[in-house]
Amino acid sequence: MPESRTAAYDSKIEGNVIFTRFDAALNWVRKNSLWPMPMGLACCAIELMATAASRFDIARFGAEVMRFSPRQCDVMIVAGTVTYKMALAVKRIYEQMPEPKWVIAMGACASTGGMYRSYAVLQGIDQLLPVDVYISGCPPRPEALLAGLMKLQEKISRERSFLNQKPELVKKVGEALA
């Protein structure tokens, strides 16, 4: 994994031109405009709403655009208890999100089933979806969700986006240069 670096940019020397890696620019764009899919299933959703409201203001991190259509979302925030009755619906919504996409498991229930060692509750959404960030708490405070979001941003900024998502294009460019 390449390390994330902040761009060293001096406008007096470089004018309006910035040199950077393509991945770095792409990741910078992606991580500062994460549109969440608010998968609110229980009390964690209340904290999710608080995070979006004025006191905590998730807009400071570019993730204020909660979309209720999965086709416009980048990150699914699974906030709450995933019952078996809901589990396949959550998976289906995730599958309708366009790539690239990420998942935050917010709170104990979404991460592990939490206090519900029960016939009715899925023991962690990671049994169905690839989870990027787990947030502890029951429910987590809005600060914890923001910290989780920042962790996800760090993770995105380290991704090899172009190589991972356009391997055929990378191959073509490689052949053309060879």
């Binding site: 009755k85 519900y116 060692r117 016939y119 009715a120 509750v121």
Partner: protein, 191 residues
């Protein structure tokens, strides 16, 4: 008519039909037979002003006969009187008459009892599961159903797995001992 007179009049009229009566801390509980349920329920609503059915619950006395118990909590808005009706039901019969036409609120209560306990309500207009999905093969509140659940699979609808109990279930021991002895610990059921 006061509340006590009301309950006494019920006792008089249905004397032979009331199998058992308990007075405890001002709460009256009458046990009736399942066959008399609709007659008693109608009388309670129309003649005794029990216009509000608060709740219906069911109990699984696993290992006893008759196995199931259904409890109706009635309340009279006009006289502010509570009445609890109980009936016992064996597993072989497994069905009791609906009261959803007498108190419409019974519709969903009876569906929930059917869903969780597997007791059927004959005459119910729409006896489907209410919490679990149609086709779920178990009745989860029955005593023989394990706490961690059982695996099941309905393609494209839902699936279930057994939950890892990690040494549990964690149960509080009811006693007069110290908090250290009573606190929730892993106490596997002695089966």
């Amino acid at each position: 008519m006061t509340g006590q007179e009301l309950l006494d009049s019920l006792g008089k009229l249905f004397g032979p039909k009331i199998q058992h009566r308990i007075e405890f801390r001002g709460e009256t509980t009458y046990t009736i037979s399942p066959g008399d349920l609709r007659e008693v329920a109608k009388f309670c609503r129309d003649e005794l002003s029990f216009d509000y059915l608060i709740d219906i619950t069911s109990i699984d006395n696993f290992g006893e006969e008759p196995r199931f118990e259904i409890v109706y909590e009635l309340y009279s808005m006009t006289l502010a009187v509570h009445l609890r009706l109980k009936l016992r039901l064996s597993e072989e019969i497994g069905a009791v008459n609906t009261v959803s036409d007498i108190w419409p609120t019974a519709n969903w209560h009876e569906r929930e009892i059917y869903d969780m306990m597997g007791i059927k309500f004959s005459g119910h207009p729409d006896l489907r599961r209410i919490l679990m999905w149609d086709g779920y093969p178990f009745f989860p509140l029955r005593k023989e159903f394990p706490l961690e659940g059982l695996p099941s699979e309905m393609p494209d609808v839902a699936f279930t797995k057994s939950a890892p109990l990690e040494g549990g279930p964690f149960v509080t021991q009811p006693s007069t001992a110290t908090a250290k002895d009573r606190e929730p610990r892993a106490r596997p059921p002695e089966l």
